[in-house]
């Protein structure tokens, strides 16, 4: 048996035990599983996975709890069309095990004021949460996706977003998996003309985590990608983002901030593609990292592929410690050293939290962060 076959063999058994689905869906599953067996799990020899070793996932035999099939037929025109599995083993695996699809459809022109909450609480073993969000032209909505669980398990999530022209979509992902969980979460967003889209990824939990956000922009689309990742102990969190300026006059802003402590490691890889026709593109990418220990490691890499000539693209990455002058200033006012450290760490994260438009989410994250840093300080 080849190495790939060895890894995928265990999955074959689960795959064949699945309840059959409607023909269109079963075809999709079959194609995806076929592709998965060809690809196998990525290794650190793959450039895309250079800093993230998924061997702990590949060598584990997860228990797969079969769930009731719940995929509305209306999802057919969209499902799997925006999250390609040709080159992505985890997307292929998710698609092969499609069961329970969370399908949200906001019709043309409809404005949904209340945030739509999607909470994925992981079962033991493995789960392949699938979310499909279709927003019609000129419709508005806010989605909050939360991932949590207890014990050891593997969450392999895929989210597809289709945002119509002139729509306004704010998406938040809050990853609060258990400390021993594996989490691979991939999001693909296809954004229409003049759509206004934001994706915020808050990554707090998990042992081995990969967050991917890919957005394809049309003419005049405005996209904002924000992220905050906190790692401690031996956690590893990898953030891969890709912004594809396919057409002219698009704007993208990206700000990812990381706080690293203990022996943890993190990755930021920000790809920006500006296609030949995408003139007048305006793109800004920033990655800032606060490293609190000597043993934490961050790998940050911008990846700009620019084929148009009349564009503005800037990128920058920083890696730093807490500012000694700021610490002294706080201490000189009577604030203890550890409290001063936690206050400054909190302030670093605050920048991202302040940009969250959902008040209740902002409040709850503020509390979580405050406790987290306070606990570290004492």
């Amino acid at each position: 048996m080849t190495a790939v076959a060895e890894q995928t063999g265990a999955w074959l058994e689960s795959f064949t035990r699945q309840q059959p689905a409607a023909p269109w869906l079963q075809d999709l599953r079959n194609a995806a599983f076929q592709r998965f067996t060809e690809l196998g799990f990525p290794t650190t020899h793959d450039e895309e996975w250079r800093f993230t070793n998924v061997a702990p996932i590949a060598r584990t035999n997860f228990v797969q709890v079969g769930r009731a099939l719940a995929c509305p037929p209306e999802a057919q025109p969209y499902l799997g069309k925006y999250a390609p599995f040709d080159h992505h083993a985890f997307v292929a695996l998710n698609t092969a095990f499609l069961e329970d699809v969370t399908y949200i459809h906001i019709p043309r022109g409809q404005v949904v004021e209340q945030p739509i909450q999607i909470a994925y609480d992981a079962p033991s073993g493995v789960a392949h949460p699938r979310t499909l969000i279709v927003v019609g032209p000129d419709a508005h909505c806010t989605i909050v996706e939360t991932y949590s669980g207890t014990g050891s398990y593997f969450t392999n999530a895929v989210t597809e977003i289709v945002a119509g022209s002139g729509s306004v979509v704010d998406h938040y992902k809050v990853q609060r998996e258990s400390p021993s969980a594996f989490h691979i979460g991939v999001m693909f967003a296809s954004l229409g003309r003049s759509a206004n889209f934001s994706a915020t990824c808050i990554s707090l939990g998990g042992a081995l985590v990969r967050n991917e956000v890919s957005a394809t922009l049309a003419e005049g689309t405005d996209a904002t990608l924000n992220g905050l990742y906190l790692v401690n102990g031996t956690q590893h969190v990898d953030n891969h983002t890709s912004i594809d300026h396919a057409q002219p006059h698009g704007t993208s802003h990206e700000l990812y901030k990381g706080i690293l402590d203990g022996k943890a490691s993190a990755v930021f890889n920000g790809r920006i593609i500006v296609r030949k026709d995408a003139q007048k593109t305006d793109s800004k990418q920033t990655n800032k990292n606060l490293v609190l220990s000597d043993e934490a490691v961050i790998d940050t890499k911008p990846e700009l592929q620019i084929f148009a000539d009349d564009v503005r693209c800037t990128h920058g990455a920083t890696i730093g410690q807490l500012d000694a002058e700021s610490l002294f200033y706080l201490q000189s006012r009577g604030i203890g050293k550890q409290d001063a450290r936690s206050l400054l760490t909190y302030a670093f994260a605050q920048d991202i939290i302040d940009r969250i438009k959902v008040q209740s989410l902002r409040d709850s994250l503020e509390r979580v962060l405050f406790e987290k840093f306070h606990e570290r300080a004492h």
Partner: protein, 258 residues
């Protein structure tokens, strides 16, 4: 008993000796001005007293309120009543002025065995002290010193002092970067805080500030030592003859920046 007693204090930064034997005694109720050209060690002295780790004390001792000051970390010095108004107040994005000041005040109160102030009492105190400095209340809700003008930063320092009510206030070049109106407002704030229970050390390059904050004593610092001490008239003397009149080279004047 003196509030502050500095004896033969030596301090270095890197391998450069900045303070080369400072002796100074300050009693409650007194205002001491420390003047001197740039590079004389004025700011170093201020920072050493506040506990900045960048400077290494290599000799001498400092007794504050009967205690060994140099053995205390910066936060304990503040809790014991020392306050340094920074020459360059630090911008701290993400931390609101209000939160920062409340945390500071309550840390100090706790150390002194007092109850922590609740939000209402704290707000009342803060509003009262803001009037003293003619400060815009909007600044309270902004991040610490972030986006403040030079004048607003200096006012914010004295405002913090008014809230924290120190026993010994050290003002490091509080006049630098202030226009005349801001200078007057800041000086009035400082004067309002003069009290028989409180001492102040006013560090400045120019005599100008001392027109507004009239000191009891003036000390001239040069090359890490106090070379002359006197009453308030010494400042006027310096104004007329310059540091050169005392045979001291003023680096700033020498390069013609004045």
């Amino acid at each position: 008993m003196a509030l502050l007693e500095i004896k033969n204090l030596h301090a270095t930064v890197g391998d450069r000796e900045i303070l080369k034997g400072i002796d100074l005694t300050v009693n409650c109720g007194e205002v001491h001005a420390i003047m001197g050209p740039n590079g004389s060690g004025k700011s170093t002295l201020a920072q050493v007293l506040a506990g900045r780790e960048l400077y290494v004390v290599t000799g001498g001792e400092v007794i504050y309120d009967g205690k060994d000051l140099l053995a205390m970390p910066p936060e304990d010095r503040a809790r014991e009543g020392i306050f340094l108004a920074f020459q360059y107040p630090v911008e701290i994005p993400g931390v609101s002025n209000m939160y920062f000041l409340k945390a500071a005040l309550n840390a100090i109160r706790k150390h002194r065995g007092l109850d922590e102030l609740d939000a209402m009492d704290f707000l009342a105190l803060v509003k009262d002290r803001m009037k003293l400095l003619e400060m815009d209340q909007v600044l309270l809700n902004r991040a610490v010193n972030t986006g403040f003008s030079g004048g607003e930063k200096k006012r914010n320092e004295i405002f913090q002092m008014a809230v924290l009510e120190p026993k010994l206030a050290i003002l490091d070049e509080t006049d630098s970067g202030l226009d005349i109106d801001a200078l007057r407002a800041v000086a009035e704030g400082v004067n309002a805080l003069r009290s028989p229970d409180r001492a102040m050390i006013v560090v400045t390059h120019y005599q100008r500030l001392l027109n507004y904050i009239v000191p009891d004593y003036v000390h001239v610092l040069a090359e890490g030592r106090i070379v002359k001490s006197g009453g308030k008239e010494l400042a006027l003397e310096l104004e007329e003859s310059g540091y050169a009149g005392l045979g001291i080279e003023d680096v700033e004047e020498a390069v013609g920046k004045v």
